[in-house]
Symmetry: C2
Subunit: 189 residues, 2 copies
């Protein structure tokens, strides 16, 4: 998606060889029109699939996932991140490390919101090592719902998250693929 690439060049900053700061674009401030364009693009790429719900993980994935769900005319579910010591009997949960935060959280989705009749499209803003994504995919598998695929706005292809998900035979579509952040420069694929 050319417009997203352009905005990344204009507004993102490289914090390290691993981390791209997208505060002005994806995870602290968002441009609703650009976000709707991303949502429409994901809806277009998965238009052959009988999606019943869009799912994401709080918080940064919510705007793009909302835009996709609005375009498709289906509900949006967002997995909560919690620090829980006790298992919740009414929820699916998976413990996952958070790449940028150096902490562990539990992803939690209420059992009442996923059923074997659902066909889900999982949308998120960024994929790096993919720990949270694999956690959510595992929750989806346990719920019995089908996963039509994964849509990611920004895939860092020099980290393993996207590749590991594709190796599970899951369709993953990314709008922008970043091959390297070396030397403080953003290199697209």
């Amino acid at each position: 998606m050319e417009r997203l690439k352009q905005r990344i060049l204009e507004e993102a900053s490289v914090l390290s060889a691993d981390v791209l700061k997208l505060d002005r674009l994806l995870n602290h401030q968002v441009d609703p029109e650009l976000t709707m364009e991303m949502g429409r693009e994901f809806a277009r790429r998965f238009e052959g699939d009988p999606i019943t719900k869009v799912i994401t993980i709080e918080s940064s994935g919510i705007p793009i996932a909302f835009a996709t769900a609005l375009t498709l005319g289906v509900p949006l579910v967002f997995a909560r991140r919690k620090k829980t010591l006790l298992a919740e009997p009414d929820a699916w949960s998976e413990r996952v490390p958070a790449f940028t935060k150096g902490i562990v959280t539990d992803l939690v989705v209420s059992r009442s919101l996923l059923s074997p009749d659902d066909v889900l499209l999982y949308i998120d803003d960024i994929i790096a090592n993919g720990d949270a994504a694999r956690g959510l995919i595992s929750i989806i598998a346990r719920s019995g719902a089908k996963l039509a695929g994964v849509g990611i706005a920004v895939e860092k292809t020099f980290q393993s998250g996207g590749r590991l998900i594709r190796e599970q035979g899951i369709r993953l579509e990314s709008l922008v693929r970043i091959a390297s952040l070396a030397d403080g420069k953003i290199a697209f694929e």
Copy 2:
């Protein structure tokens, strides 16, 4: 907003005399069309104000705030909740208790995203005691930005949050006002 009242009666459940569970409607699953209707209603109520940005707090406020920002054609900023021990020099932060979680978090907004030229509309899903809302309002005041007002989907008027904000002379609009959850029943005002 009649349609929101109806959906609350159909899909919310009363957990205690203080807590209404809105998991299927606001804070775990959302209906994009209903959310857009809420966003358009907030945009209509504040249409005389020269809003430059919509602001909210992650996570549950994001869909409605996004819908409002999309309608108004302005960016959306969402304050992050963090557990930080160190102050971040580039950010405004306020420590706030979280009503339903029994914990304390820091609300954080990057200084680069708010300026004295901004006129902000603060949108959130629910107001109870209003601790987080007061924290964000304090950040806005410190940034020098103007606050046009606050838009809340569900105000629990038997708790003090909404009243305390109005007593500061701030305009607060709520779409649905709940007067009581006593005896497991939802009583609208």
